[in-house]
């Protein structure tokens, strides 16, 4: 018997040798997520984008809202200037960002190990927790979100979902990438006497530029 089989046999025996049908197990598992509003927090504001902003700001993430995607490079320039950084950043090589006019901002094609700033596109925002979501992909290196000191994230208002489960639902159907990462505020640590220090290994600063692409009623 392989180790695998002996472990499974021990588990099976521990459970009394009984085994439910997969459909029954799935139904029971789904039932455990019924009435989600009873077991999750309410949003910090009625509008998910407002709620996202409140939560993210509370974590130390800074936020700027712009009207159009075209406004992003200027907003990045303002942020870099305000931080006293040179006008340069590693920009994620994804169509939505590379199509923009980055005049005045020097673009690094790769993220250096001590990269001061990088600009990336968020796949989603989560209102409940103020998190942004990135996925690994051909045009989305994970290290872009971890090596720089300043992580500047472009987030479309239309891609803010309310709750964590709304994001989980989008992952259903075999669309799971190698890495799906929920980033909730800047990197930090409390490992020395419980005192909070920003920028442990990942970015010490997260700046979200929200593009208001929703048609407001």
């Amino acid at each position: 018997m392989t180790t695998r089989d002996s472990i499974l046999a021990a588990v099976h025996a521990g459970l009394g040798g009984l085994r439910a049908e997969p459909d029954a197990i799935a139904a029971e598992a789904a039932g455990l997520l019924a009435d989600l509003d009873a077991i999750r927090p309410r949003l910090a504001a009625p509008d998910p984008v407002d709620a996202f902003e409140i939560k993210a700001a509370a974590l130390g993430t800074t936020i700027e809202r712009v009207r159009h995607l075209d406004d992003v490079p200027a907003a990045v320039g303002r942020y870099l200037a305000a931080q006293g950084l040179p006008p340069a950043a590693a920009v994620q090589q994804t169509a939505a960002l590379t199509a923009l006019s980055w005049e005045g901002i020097a673009q690094d094609m790769a993220t250096a190990p001590d990269q001061p700033a990088a600009v990336g596109l968020a796949r989603l925002g989560i209102a409940e927790s103020g998190s942004i979501v990135i996925h690994s992909a051909t045009d989305s290196p994970i290290l872009l979100a971890f090596l720089p000191l300043h992580h500047i994230v472009v987030l479309h208002a239309s891609s803010v979902v309310a709750h964590l489960e709304d994001y989980a639902r989008l992952l259903d159907g075999g669309s799971q990438p190698r890495n799906a990462i929920l980033i909730t505020g800047p990197s930090g640590t409390t490992d020395i006497e419980g005192s909070y220090v920003r920028g442990a290994h990942g970015p010490g600063f997260v700046h979200v530029i929200i593009v208001n692409d929703r048609s407001r009623a």
């Binding site: 077991i39 964590l164 799971q176 190698r178 409390t190 290994h201």
Partner: protein
């Protein structure tokens, strides 16, 4: 077992109690953790309902564990990961060391994993001559100090900033600019950054294994897990078989409980799902992903009285709120896991005989169970170990004899009343002032506190006398 187990629990606890620096360090971190947890719960009125659901999710997984293990294996394999199985700690280490050798690894980075500590992976890598770099800041500190974690969330809780500065000044080239936490964190960032990018293998644990996607989930606040698991060519995960959840949404339901209970946050900075190696064309990521599923006593727990312990999501709230932990810290417990959850788990892992003190070194005040986010009845489980200790004859003879005599009397009310009346009279004589400062056979009490003398007469005597008076009227 760890090296510190050579001494007795009482000796370790005594040394910890004498260490005022340790007490200061523990108070600083557990105090903050307790306050932040309370604030997080105040903002989450759904917590009680959520923890009932969290417990039910874990119970459901354990009740169908064979199904979920097979489902996870199938989906992780389909995503391109290689799944390995280890019945014991030794088997798990052997697999990891073999994988490192196959990858021709000179140095590996590791992201904090208590399962890795449980199987003594650091020792196994050292024996195999593989350089290990701990990347979590606290693990980096204790690696420099040559120690084991003293807390499952804050492994270096026992060290003050001054002590950390001594370690960093000796190891970091150049040393930190200053000895405040921010400068020391900055120094560790500088030193570890190059290690991340040149590692051959990255080893992580898993907070959850998601059955329906085959993904493993890590939760870190520093970002070290992603820097550990992305640049190297090989990513190895070690995880206990109880870490399964049915779907990503179930993991989120538990994450809400885990994070609030552990650090008082709502979601940790980095919640990452790792599903197989990098996909064709991916900009970065490892070429191989291996997942080592570790039993190490867990399958046995399914059928014994400790099954509910398999719910544990390793948040550390029980130790932060434990009066004993807060006095003696984690190392005194002598196992991988300290505090109330450790007092239940260590006898499973190391055997009851070696760790018999742990279930007894508890006042049974129930605060651990009160804060447990998945409602593990920790005092009940500790009591179960006490019953086993009694049944296996591990209780020392004087205690057995004393309890036996007491139980004999307690079952004979007439005799019991006679004996208690005599005892009360004796204590009254010894404590004429109202207090007894020293009492033979009760040195454990009177060494540290006075014993109030009985107020006079037993209740039963006086009640009988009063009733007799009442009847004669």
């Amino acid at each position: 077992m760890t090296a510190q187990d050579q001494t007795s629990f009482k000796a370790r606890a005594g040394a910890a109690l004498a260490d005022t620096t340790l007490k200061l360090a523990i108070d600083r971190t557990t105090g903050t953790a307790e306050r932040k947890r309370a604030a997080a719960l105040a903002g989450f009125p759904e917590f009680e309902a959520a923890r009932a659901r969290g417990a039910a999710i874990k119970d459901h997984v354990i009740a169908n564990l064979d199904h979920y293990l097979e489902t996870f294996e199938r989906n992780a394999t389909a995503a391109g990961a290689k799944v390995h199985w280890a019945a014991t700690a030794e088997e798990a280490c052997d697999i990891v060391v073999r994988l490192c050798r196959e990858a021709d690894a000179k140095h590996v980075t590791r992201s904090k994993s208590m399962l890795g500590e449980e199987i003594h992976l650091p020792d196994a890598l050292a024996t195999a001559g593989i350089e290990r770099v701990e990347t979590d800041l606290a693990e980096h500190i204790i690696q420099l100090a040559g120690e084991h974690p003293s807390h499952i969330i804050w492994p270096a809780m026992h060290r003050t900033r001054e002590q950390v500065a001594v370690l960093f000044n000796a190891d970091h080239k150049p040393p930190p600019d200053a000895e405040d936490p921010a400068s020391m964190v900055q120094s560790a960032r500088r030193v570890l950054r190059e290690k991340f990018l040149s590692a051959d293998v990255g080893i992580s644990g898993a907070n959850f294994l998601v059955a329906d996607t085959g993904a493993t989930c890590t939760v870190t606040n520093e970002g070290n897990a992603e820097l550990t698991t992305t640049p190297p060519r090989v990513h190895i995960v070690t995880a206990g078989i109880e870490k399964l959840v049915p779907t990503t949404a179930h993991a989120f339901a538990l994450l809400r409980l885990l994070v609030r209970s552990a650090t008082g946050g709502e979601l940790t900075q980095y919640t990452t799902f790792h599903c197989g190696p990098k996909r064709p064309g991916d900009a970065d990521g490892p070429e191989e992903m291996h997942i080592v599923l570790v039993d190490n006593g867990r399958s046995r727990m399914i059928k014994d009285e400790f099954r509910e312990m398999l719910r544990c999501i390793r948040c550390g709230a029980c130790m932060n709120h434990c009066v004993v932990y807060r006095q003696i810290g984690g190392h005194a417990y002598g196992g991988t896991y300290p505090g109330p959850m450790g007092a239940v788990l260590t006898p499973v892992l190391d055997g009851l005989k070696q760790s018999r003190d742990l279930p007894f070194a508890c006042t049974m005040n129930g605060r651990c169970a009160e804060v447990c986010p998945v409602r593990i009845p920790l005092p009940t489980l500790l009591r179960a170990w006490r019953v086993r200790s009694w049944e296996e004859g591990l209780e020392k003879a004087p205690m057995r004899a004393g309890l036996g005599l007491w139980a004999t009397l307690a079952r004979r009310p007439g005799l019991y009343r006679l004996a208690s009346a005599i005892a009360v009279r004796t204590l009254r004589v010894l404590g004429r002032s109202g207090w007894i400062r020293s009492l033979p056979l009760a040195g454990g009490w009177t060494e540290h506190r006075d014993l109030p003398a009985p107020a006079g007469g037993t209740f039963m005597e006086r009640y009988k006398a009063e009733r007799a008076k009442g009847d004669s009227r």
